[in-house]
């Protein structure tokens, strides 16, 4: 594992660690058929940090995300979320998970989809009125005012993913785990969603761990980009993105942005070469 030494120039603004992977290893299957998906991963994500995982397909990016979410368990090493076991963090509703597919329930309206987590969780002090205000506020925030009574299949892909985002934010988790959330969207919608995500991130002070296939997306969004190798997934390098926030379309036109995109692309090239 090689970590770029420039990490010291831009220390994470956070003081505490939100997610810590230590010597994490994950095997799928047993015996001879076992495949090593992730091996020897050490990674710490600070509170309020925005970190992207990027790498060739099959590099275990999603596996890391699912380990943090306690949707799967590590074969070795340890994962800590807010200093707790992922299971405890899951039961404490510390994170919101956003899938590549919006995963909305067709039989529910947009409003009821966003309300779903609140129906399942018993959040102290959450009155009916507060619930309504919160859902209304979030639908406004993701730009879906007036679509409360629509069904998911009546919306475009981008709008569906916004509903999924509002649903993840409604119980105010301090961490967002996002598994290629905009991967299925067209580039124009994706650009807009990226900027909206940045705005939401700065408004809600959440920690975001973001899996993506897109280099420009990773550079535009993140404070750090983690480049991974494939089979087994290991951390190839961690590239700090020293672009100023708030990031707008102007940032995307700056020279530094292009330099960083190139840097990530080269690191990714090395990761792929190691694979072959």
């Amino acid at each position: 594992m090689t970590t770029t030494d420039s990490a010291s120039e831009t220390p994470p603004t956070a003081t505490q660690t939100a997610i810590a992977f230590e010597q994490v290893r994950k095997e799928f299957g047993k015996g001879r058929d076992a495949t090593l998906a992730v091996d020897d991963v050490d990674l710490a994500i600070g509170e309020r940090e925005f970190v992207s995982l990027i790498g060739p397909s099959g590099c275990g990016k999603s596996t890391l995300l699912r380990l943090a979410a306690d949707l799967i368990e590590p074969s070795g090493g340890s994962v800590l979320v807010k200093g707790k076991s992922p299971r405890q963090a899951r039961l404490d509703r510390d994170y919101g998970f956003i899938f590549q597919a919006p995963t909305l329930f067709d039989w529910r309206t947009v409003w009821k989809n966003v309300a779903l987590p609140l129906e399942i969780m018993r959040i102290p002090g959450m009155t009916k009125q507060k619930k309504q205000d919160e859902i209304e506020r979030l639908l406004g925030m993701v730009g879906l005012d007036g679509f409360e009574k629509h069904r998911p299949y009546q919306l475009s892909g981008g709008m569906q993913q916004r509903v999924s985002l509002a649903r993840a934010l409604v119980f105010r988790p301090s961490i967002l785990l996002m598994d290629e959330p905009f991967g299925a969207l067209d580039e124009i919608t994706r650009d807009r969603m990226n900027l909206e995500l940045l705005r939401i991130w700065s408004e809600t002070h959440t920690t975001i761990l973001f899996v993506t296939h897109s280099i420009p997306e990773a550079v535009l969004l993140s404070g750090r980009v983690v480049v991974m190798t494939a089979r087994p997934g290991r951390v190839q390098s961690v590239i700090p993105i020293d672009l100023p926030y708030p990031r707008t379309t102007e940032v995307e036109e700056s020279t530094r942005y292009y330099e960083l995109v190139t840097e990530v692309r080269e690191a990714l090239g090395e990761a792929m070469a190691g694979d072959a």
Binding site: R90, A101, D106, W107, T109, G146, H150
Partner: protein, 291 residues
């Protein structure tokens, strides 16, 4: 941001937008097309009936004219009632048997299907019985059941339910089990209990499957009820009417055809009933609204 949608329907959902008007006219068109199709099918059926009679040169005692069957409905029987009323009374008996059977089968089939989908071991234990329920020749065991349980309507309801059970159980098992991993992971990420996952995700997700099974089961329940009425000893029901009509066929052939027609209508009515419930329950499910 959403020009595609906003240009078509006002998001305020207030008065009827242009989209709503369009939908209504489309719905109208589909309805008139459907009625047109039904009329064509009826014409073909009647044409086929009379053509068959003409080609085979059948006498009334083999195949009466359709209008003779129709006229028969308005004849007066020995009790002084019109025949259609007499047939209607028998249909009512069969209907109650079939509906009761369907209701019992719905509860039992849902429970069995759920177990098959969710519990590996219990599911495996149940499977042979579910398959068995389908392979048992119901016509063969119906007389035995009548001997054990009597000739009351409950016995017939039980046999109707027996036939209706299988499609419901299989459809439920399929629907309850066929939930996307993402949806299950989503519920897990909320720390949802298995009960919550069941009622908030699995059951609503399975409803379209279950209703497909119910439609088949509704038709089966009528068949089951009629078959159950055939063994000697039954006094009421359209099955009995069909049997006696068959015995007096050479005297009054119209009676058999009228009874058979009634049985077909009953089956159709049962299926339509399930469809109407489906439209109400699945309001808003994809494909259930014109959108």
């Amino acid at each position: 941001m959403s020009a595609r949608v906003t240009s078509q329907a006002s998001p305020s959902l207030g008065g009827p937008g242009r989209l709503a008007v369009l939908l209504r006219s489309e719905r109208l068109r589909s309805w008139s097309a459907r009625i047109g199709l039904i009329l064509i099918l009826i014409a073909l059926f009647l044409g086929g009936w009379e053509f068959l009679k003409w080609v085979t040169d059948s006498p009334r005692t083999t195949l009466p004219h359709f209008h003779e069957v129709f006229d028969y409905l308005f004849d007066i029987d020995s009790q002084g009632n019109t025949q259609w009323l007499a047939i209607g009374r028998q249909l009512e008996v069969t209907f109650i048997e079939a509906v009761t059977g369907l209701a019992v089968a719905t509860v039992a089939g849902f429970a069995a299907g759920t177990l098959m989908a969710l519990s590996r071991w219990t599911g495996r234990g149940i499977m042979p019985f579910v398959i068995g329920a389908q392979t048992v020749p119901i016509v063969a065991i119906a007389p035995a059941l009548v001997i054990w349980l009597g000739t009351g309507w409950e016995t017939k309801a039980l046999i109707a339910g027996f036939l209706a059970f299988f499609p419901i159980a299989v459809a439920t098992a399929r629907g309850i089990g066929d939930i996307s991993q993402d949806s299950l992971d989503l519920m897990a990420s909320y720390g949802a209990s298995p009960t919550r996952v069941f009622f908030k995700l699995r059951v609503p997700g399975a409803l379209p499957y279950i209703f497909t099974g119910l439609e088949v089961a509704a038709a089966f329940s009528v068949i089951g009820a009629i078959v159950a009425e055939l063994p000697v000893g039954s006094q009421e029901g359209i099955g009995v009417k069909i049997l006696t009509s068959q015995q007096y066929f050479s005297l009054e052939p119209e009676s058999l055809f009228a009874s058979i027609g009634g049985a077909c209508l009953l089956g159709g009515a049962m299926v339509s009933m399930v469809r109407i419930v489906q439209l109400i329950v699945l309001r808003g499910h994809r494909g259930e609204t014109i959108s």
